[in-house]
């Protein structure tokens, strides 16, 4: 597969760039972690307390090149350092705790939106210009344009604070202990509904729009007419001949969307107090917790690159025309 060889090169450059940026960006923020820690202490920052914190963490006064070398060494051994905010927990500990919840949230939202979006897109392309299409398609554009923060605040206020149908925060009822039982799973489910609903409209809108336009092109193809001529049922033509082939552009979109979903999940997690990567990144930024910010950005970059890579491979498998040298 020569395709992966050249592609790998591109990915390696992207990764190297990400690693360097990841080192530089947090250092451009004003203030040191010691300052941030003193700021957090607020009224408790007595002169003695400030001295104690300085004695403990020191000012970061290593030359920048030495810091960079240490950073690379750490990366190689998957030692991302110790969190400042959650000291003495390591970055890996902090992130692994949060990653699980964000992956759960993002994957659930993606699958849910993919199913709904593709269905809506397929149906509205099939009945193009019909009543369904005239309602759903503009609605998708609207959904696509509403920022997650507005949806999050609105549904939090309506369904959690006012109606109290759903919990206002957490990933599961704090009084439960995690375990494989119905009560716990139910609690996780209930707590995930609103966050997933926050992340979904944007994705559904995106998938519906892409699916619809791609499906319209496919439906004009000769083999669709051929399928109808064979006397196949509408459903069979729509899904086996139409939707199946129209899915490819949606797949590309899925990989591109990943970054956007992570972005949306930051806002969502903050609003719903959901213990994922977004909330962690937010608190780490406020606390100037460089090691955690770095680890987190790296993780997200790698996840996005990895997803793109995966889609590249799947693409080749799904559509033989895209394989290099095939023509």
């Amino acid at each position: 597969m020569r395709v992966s060889g050249r592609r790998l090169g591109v990915y390696a450059v992207a990764l190297a760039f990400a690693i360097v940026m990841n080192f530089i960006l947090p250092r451009l923020m004003p203030g040191t972690p010691v300052d941030a820690m003193v700021a957090q202490l607020g009224a408790r920052a007595t002169p003695a307390a400030v001295e104690a914190i300085k004695a403990r963490f020191g000012e970061i006064d290593q030359p920048i090149m030495m810091q960079f070398v240490d950073y690379l060494k750490g990366l190689a051994t998957l030692d991302l350092g110790v969190s400042v905010k959650y000291y003495p927990q390591t970055v890996v500990q902090v992130l692994s705790r949060a990653t699980l919840w964000t992956v759960f949230l993002v994957v659930t939202a993606l699958i849910f939106s993919l199913c709904v979006g593709v269905m809506l897109g397929a149906i509205s392309a099939w009945r193009r210009g019909g009543r369904f299409d005239t309602v759903v398609s503009p609605l998708s554009v609207i959904m696509f344009s509403i920022p997650p923060v507005i949806i999050a605040l609105t549904i939090l206020f309506v369904f959690a604070v006012s109606l109290r149908w759903f919990p206002v925060g957490y990933a599961y009822d704090p009084d439960l202990d995690p375990g494989f039982n119905f009560i716990f799973a139910g609690s996780v489910f209930m707590h995930a509904i609103l966050p997933v609903l926050t992340l979904s409209p944007f994705l559904i809108g995106e998938f519906q729009t892409t699916m619809r336009s791609s499906m319209i092109v496919v439906l004009g193809e000769d083999y669709v007419t051929m399928g109808r001529a064979k006397g196949l049922s509408n459903l069979a033509v729509m899904f086996s001949y139409g939707a199946r082939n129209a899915l490819l552009p949606v797949l590309t979109n899925l990989a591109l969307m990943l970054g956007a979903v992570f972005g949306g999940s930051i806002v969502t997690e903050i609003v719903f107090n959901y213990p994922g990567l977004g909330l962690t990144l937010f608190t780490a930024s406020v606390a100037r917790d460089y090691p955690v910010i770095q680890g987190q950005l790296l993780l997200m970059t790698m996840a996005t690159l990895g997803a793109n890579f995966l889609v590249d491979i799947i693409y080749g498998l799904v559509d033989p025309r895209l394989r290099e040298g095939a023509r």
Binding site: D35, A43, P47, D173, I183, N273, T283
Partner: protein, 564 residues
Amino acid sequence: MGLDKRVIRSVSARAGSAVATALTAVMAFGASAAWAAETVLTMHIEEQSSWVQNFNPFDLAGRRQSTMDFIYEPLVIFNANDGGKPVWRLATSYKFSDDLKSITYDLRPDVKWSDGQKLTSADVKYTIDLMLKNPAVDTVGVGQTVTSVEAPSPTQVKINLKAVNSEFPESLADLAVVPQHVWKDIADPVAFKNEKPVGSGPMTEVRRFTPQVYEQCRNPNYWDAASLHVDCLRLPQISGNDQMLALLPEGSVDWIGSFLPQIDKTFVALDPQHNGYWQPPAETVAFEMNFKSTNAGNLEAFKDLNFRHAFSLAMDRKSMVDIAGFGYPVVNLHASGLPPRFESWRNKAAEGDKDAFMGYDTDKANRILDDAGYKKGADGFRTTPSGKPIAFPIIVPNGWTDWIDAVQIAVEGLRSAGINASVATPEYEQWRKQLLDGSFEVVMNSRADSATPFQGYYQSLSTAYAGRLTVSAPRYSNPKLDAMFDQYLKSSSDDDHKKIFNDIQVLIADDFPVVPVFNGPTWYQFSSKRFTGWVTDKDPVMNPEDHDNNRMRLMHLLRLKPVQ
């Protein structure tokens, strides 16, 4: 095929109903399932996105803020609402030596650690020695004040001081005495997380700890168990004010320390019978001018008492409180800036006509400046009597929205008096840096908090501290005042302290080094649904806050009784 489908359908139907049952169960029990027999007090102290099990009292930033007082009992607490009188806890008394160079604490003889071992003077000595050896755990600054510690008897600790300092016991108020038999085996007391603490306070047993909630329960060997009517503290993780507001309708939190906008509507109205609050004024917030400013025009103005008086007259304090502060702060109309909670220290001689410049009167401000020779230029702004321009930004940390609004109101007032002031909002870190390196011009700033008013004035206005702390930003230096501070530190009688502090108030009201504007609120809300005994404005015996900087929260906890 048909059979398969039916099986699948019935299985999924059953699974569906099971999930439904589980969901109903979760929704029905939700918050109130666990406690029937024991009394659990739900508290909100700090905002975090996830709990980390860290009860190391020396880790100021990382420790859970229920560590002090509830796990590690103080030696003695000074109650600011009671004239700074001592509330004896692990200690029963202390006595200075005649030369004031050492102090001896008597310890309560019957105190045990939560693991059953006796708490003795060896533990106190061990703790202070640990701090002297290791500056990173010196959270009370004994490195600056103490030369050595002795333990003449199991219930006596003698601390030798570097200099005469009658305020030393107050600096030791934040000391957490740790058990020697546990800590002597800890290789690195800084990185130690102390997940299963052995403590001397009422709530030492960490029963449950998850990233979303933790519970701290009754110390089986608590010396003051007779006063303790709460079995467990429960602390749910809450990441911010918004989260708190969203949680309030559930009515599940008993003791809250949050900023709640429009509190009568957002909190009290939810359950008027039980929900209450008292947010008494705390430290004085003042506008401080930099007496070491490198800008010649500004410096000339700042050093002129007339200019400072005019500055004060341009302050619309009431709008700052009502508009910027949601009505929560209290206007401070004393030229001495004395906070209201130190009422018992008040010197009437420092008030009256000395407070003449504390109102809002831009006409009078303009008149004073005209008379003092501050002429208006073509741009409508005044210059100094010697003709130099005056122009300064007032700095306030980015994001401190209520303070920014207050500064904006101040700037409007100053501009209507012809003073070219503006607002600058650097990041907190930059703000702090400017205060410490002296590159700012004017700042709105709060004074240091303490149990007696002395410490706040001493740290803000003495030459010894000038520029060393954020609270001493103005770099004010007055030999007369320094002499009074010194005299205060060298006397140990309460009467002398009162007398000297009376003089300090008069001097400050006369020389008017900073412009006091208001006193910020404390944050305290409660629900009497499950517990009674809450401190209220009708019974203002102590600072009611549950935050980590208020030692009196221990006494507040011991007042609470479950509703039968």
